[in-house]
């Protein structure tokens, strides 16, 4: 085992590592560490240095291990990084295992009582008397646990030379307005900083230095972004049932709507209903969509399973509704607080019988916003359920992003006929393909015209919406629905290409894998493998996707599931290219990282 001495020597050779490392804070949930971690992250962000934060929390309310990872990266890589450089080991339950998993030469900050130095000596240990410092900070026993979190912020800040003014600013933002809280926390941070100044000798390579890479950027989680998208999409009826990791989408939407969607007279231009379960949530949303509202619901895996029957009704009787799936690890209850993309195939075919749903795949918080807007237009344009699948990683973690753009396109309410139009037309058949695009016209209940009414059913119906069991009527309907799905290829978000000179190898990914893939492309380039990368943003696939696969000898499909669902969907879309489609899967519940992708690809390249 390398000794620390040797290690430090080596360090000094290699010199400083600036703005390129990851910090992991290990605590127990419910201990209030979230706010101090945010403060630490924001402080660095405010110094102009790109950061990202990932919270690895248990499906439990208090007392179980939680890890918060802050990645600091001057090049703007904000995906998860596999190796931890700096560990703040505050949780005795996991401390030993946490230290063991560190790479040699890493840094470990821990309560002196843990004696972690006895576990490994090839790691730089800073041992801090947190308990004592906490006692000195406050006499209120109940506050000590909380303030301990702020004390480590002070210690870490001092060691990394984080600008204290930024810490002060970050605390002010975090506890905005609450003077007492601000002072208390500032005081605690100072306590940690001063103690560190006095007692700790900097013996590691990690430093933060000011940059200007975060000017004008925002930090937000994907659920908040999606909520904003819904609000600016003009959503009017929202139904939901709480479930991790989707709850915070509707909960933040409630707050935003309350602030921005109440009229002069104090009345709401929306209705938000907490349903009794997901069957009811989507049932309400479908009823609302049928009646003309821009309606949505939001859920995660188990809720999607419960929505299957109604999803089929929406598809077959052509009712607009937007369904967010902030996906988590399944099957069943699975790992409610871990991330996954494994609902993809199920969403695409959700419900019994021949069914094909539109699915949007946001790859960033910005796209959570944009695609929310997009989703409502698509659902009303195509009169069908539209699923937006993000995941726990995008949805609940904090991401750096450019500010969102205000939608220029006016709302697309689709083919809705009002009384005047009916009068002009003198004729209305709910399910006739008038325009040859597979999309019929509809009317809304309440339309004051004798031609307006029609009867909606999930059973067999002809072009006039009349009940039928005729073989030809059924085939016509099903073929039209397929045509409609084909038409959608022209409307859904097109894929995004990131190409490299002379690349023969392609990479396809979607959703939250994006930043990791981009980073992996650099690693691959460095390893001598230039790649082109296409990020798919929706089902059905568009011609750009087909062209991309056409143009590459080998295409690696990177995804966060066990069964290579996206790879399979692509194979079914382009059977002639099945064999050039290879798979890189990551499905342990942690957000995907660049290294795993790079290794996964290089390994197969060897063969």
């Amino acid at each position: 085992m390398k000794t620390l001495a040797a290690d430090t020597a080596q360090k000094t050779e290699q010199g400083r590592i600036v703005n390129d490392f990851s910090i992991q804070v290990a605590t127990v949930n419910g201990s209030g560490s979230q706010s101090s971690n945010n403060v630490l992250m924001r402080s660095i962000f405010q110094m102009g240095v790109p950061v990202s934060g990932k919270n690895l929390f248990p499906s439990n309310i208090a007392g179980l291990p939680t890890w918060f990872t802050i990645r600091v990266n001057k090049d703007g890589w904000i995906a998860r990084k596999k190796e931890i450089d700096i560990l703040v080991a505050m949780n005795q339950q996991t401390a030993v295992e946490d230290v063991r998993s560190l790479p040699s030469g890493a840094v470990c900050i821990s309560p002196v009582e843990f004696n972690l130095n006895t576990v490994r000596d090839d790691v730089k240990h800073y041992q801090v008397p947190f308990a004592q410092l906490a006692n000195e900070t406050t006499d209120e026993v109940k506050l000590r646990k909380l303030l301990t979190n702020m004390i480590y912020v002070g210690v870490v800040g001092e060691l990394l030379s984080v600008d204290f003014k930024e810490v002060e600013k970050a605390i002010a933002t975090q506890f905005e307005g609450k003077k007492k809280a601000i002072d208390l926390n500032l005081n605690a941070v100072r306590k940690g900083r001063d103690w560190a100044k006095e007692h700790l000798k900097k013996e590691d390579r990690y430093f933060v230095e000011p940059m200007n890479q975060t000017q004008g950027k925002i930090i937000i989680d994907g659920n908040a972004a999606a909520a904003l998208g819904c609000m600016f999409a003009g959503v009017t009826v929202v139904t939901w049932y709480p479930i991790t990791p989707s709850s915070s989408l509707c909960e933040q939407l409630i707050d935003y709507m309350h602030e921005y969607r109440v009229d002069e007279t104090g009345k709401a231009t929306y209705a938000i209903v907490q349903a009794e379960d997901e069957l009811a949530a989507i049932g309400m949303a479908i009823g609302a969509g049928w009646a003309g509202a821009r309606s949505m619901t939001s859920t995660s895996g188990p809720g999607i399973s419960l929505m299957a029957e109604f999803a089929g009704l929406g598809y077959f009787s052509e009712i607009p509704v937007v369904v967010f799936d902030v996906s988590r690890v399944g099957p069943s209850t699975g790992l409610p607080t871990r991330t996954s993309q494994a609902d993809l195939l199920f969403l695409n075919v959700l419900s019994h019988g021949d069914t094909k749903h539109l699915v949007l795949l946001p790859g960033s918080v910005a796209e959570c916003f944009d695609f929310a807007v997009e989703a409502f237009d698509l659902s009303e344009r195509f009169q069908t359920p539209v699923f937006v699948m993000s995941d726990l990683d995008i949805g609940m973690n904090n991401w750096m992003s450019d500010p969102f753009k205000y939608p220029e396109k006016p709302l697309d309410r689709g083919k809705v006929l009002n009384a005047e139009q009916l009068e002009k037309l003198g004729k209305f058949e709910r399910y006739r393909d008038v325009d040859g695009d597979g999309i019929p016209y509809r009317t809304l209940p309440g339309t004051k015209h004798p031609l307006a009414a029609y009867f909606t059913r999930g059973s067999g119906h002809n072009e006039k919406a009349g009940y039928t069991e005729r073989p030809d009527d059924y085939v016509n309907l099903m073929d039209r629905l397929l045509k409609k799905y084909k038409t959608a290829e022209q409307y859904v978000p097109k894929p995004v290409l990131n190409s490299t000179k002379d690349a023969k190898v392609g990479i396809i990914a979607f959703g939250s894998s994006d930043f990791a893939v981009l980073e992996s492309q650099e690693q691959l380039q460095a390893a001598g493998l230039p790649t082109n990368y296409l990020r798919i943003r929706a089902l059905p696939f568009t011609d750009e996707v087909r062209k991309f696969i056409d143009q590459h000898e080998r295409v690696y499909v990177v995804e966060q599931d066990r069964d290579a669902q996206m790879r399979d969907l692509l194979r079914l879309d382009m059977p002639q290219h099945s064999m050039r489609l290879r798979s890189v899967r990551h499905y342990n519940g942690l957000p995907i990282d660049a290294r795993s992708i790079t290794d996964g690809i290089l390994e197969q390249e060897k063969k």
Binding site: A275, A285, I286, A452
Partner: protein, 342 residues
């Protein structure tokens, strides 16, 4: 009286309230209820374009196709009509919701949503066409089948029935009535009252299934219902747009006035009954069950309970048709939010 009128206050005729021809079995109780819905809507002068018809799945749930073809209708999935109704109500609170369900659709698969729509008090008329069996799937017992009732095959039901009215009152429903497809006079009065009520109005209507549950030994047959019906009172309904004539007042024991000014007069039959007394209602229902009476009439009313559209403080116009400028906040709003996130 309106009953004889050729056209109603909107100048519409009875025919304007009819639907497609029924495909139900001849004599099915559901068809009898359909005609009373048509009659009630016609006599009240409902605007067909402001009515939304809702149902689940079942023979009963097919009936919205058989009345008011000028109204939009939605035949949803089995047991989940209440959630669809809730969404429709939120999207357009100016619509009058007329929902038809069956005992299987409501009391078996639909129980969860039934309970929660009552809890929310969504403004709608909720008619359960109760025949104690699953008609459309050929006569299996539903959750309202009475203990000891015999199936056509001779099987005796050994599970207690769910009493939809007792349940609705327990859940705080503000309008609870029970009637019989074979008692058109009472039914039409209750339908009109229900259509005048502001929250959820539950009508549990015994509606015999002539094909699968109308035999000896059935407790939901025409014969059984006729022999066991005990009307709590005689009913007279006076819509808000009509003068109160003396004959209404005659012998009335109680009267209920609805938000639109319409009233229903209760003339006592056997004993006096006050439909605004919740405990009395529950005890009376339980007693009738013990005595194997088929109790009909307006069991409970509470006109004070706010309906759900009030609780969500909706704007006056239907959400469905609000213009873009009302539902998409201005750019300044987004800028403000973005700032706060920097």
């Amino acid at each position: 009286m309106a009953v004889e009128a050729k056209s109603n206050r909107l100048g519409l005729s009875l025919a304007d309230y009819k639907g497609a021809p029924s495909t139900l079995c001849d004599g099915c109780g559901h068809d009898a209820i359909t005609s009373q819905i048509i009659k009630a809507a016609f006599e009240l002068g409902l605007d067909p374009h402001s009515v939304a018809k809702l149902s689940g799945i079942g023979c009963s749930s097919k009936t919205p196709a058989y009345f008011m073809s000028q109204s939009h209708g939605f035949n949803a999935v089995h047991g989940r009509m209440p959630s669809v109704a809730t969404g429709v109500s939120m999207a357009n609170k100016t619509l009058k919701l007329v929902a038809v369900s069956g005992d299987g659709d409501t009391a078996s698969i639909g129980m969860g949503q039934f309970v929660h729509i009552l809890r929310r008090n969504i403004p709608m008329v909720y008619i359960v066409e109760n025949n104690g069996v699953y008609g459309l799937t050929k006569g299996q017992f539903s959750a309202t089948a009475d203990l000891g009732s015999k199936s056509k095959a001779g099987v005796v039901n050994d599970l207690p029935p769910v009493d939809l009215c007792g349940l609705a009152i327990e859940l705080g429903c503000g309008f609870v009535a029970r009637s019989f497809a074979g008692d058109p006079k009472q039914l039409v009065a209750l339908l009109k009252a229900a259509l005048s009520h502001e929250g959820t109005a539950l009508l549990d209507v015994i509606s015999p299934c002539v094909t699968f549950n109308n035999h000896e030994g059935s407790t939901k047959s025409y014969k059984y219902a006729r022999e066991h019906e005990v009307p709590l009172h005689d009913l007279g309904f006076v819509p808000f747009f009509e003068q109160l004539t003396a004959d209404y007042e005659a012998g009335k024991s109680h009267e209920v006035t609805f938000h639109d000014g319409s009233r229903i007069m209760l003339r006592k039959t056997a004993k006096d009954y006050d439909p605004s007394n919740r405990d009395l209602a529950v005890d009376t229902i339980h007693k009738s069950a013990r005595d194997h009476e088929f109790l009909t009439g307006l069991l409970y009313v509470d006109e004070k309970k706010p309906d759900f559209t009030k609780l969500v403080h909706l704007v006056d116009a239907p959400l469905a048709t609000l213009p873009q400028d009302k539902i998409r906040p201005p750019k300044s709003a987004l800028d403000e939010i973005m700032k706060s996130l920097m």
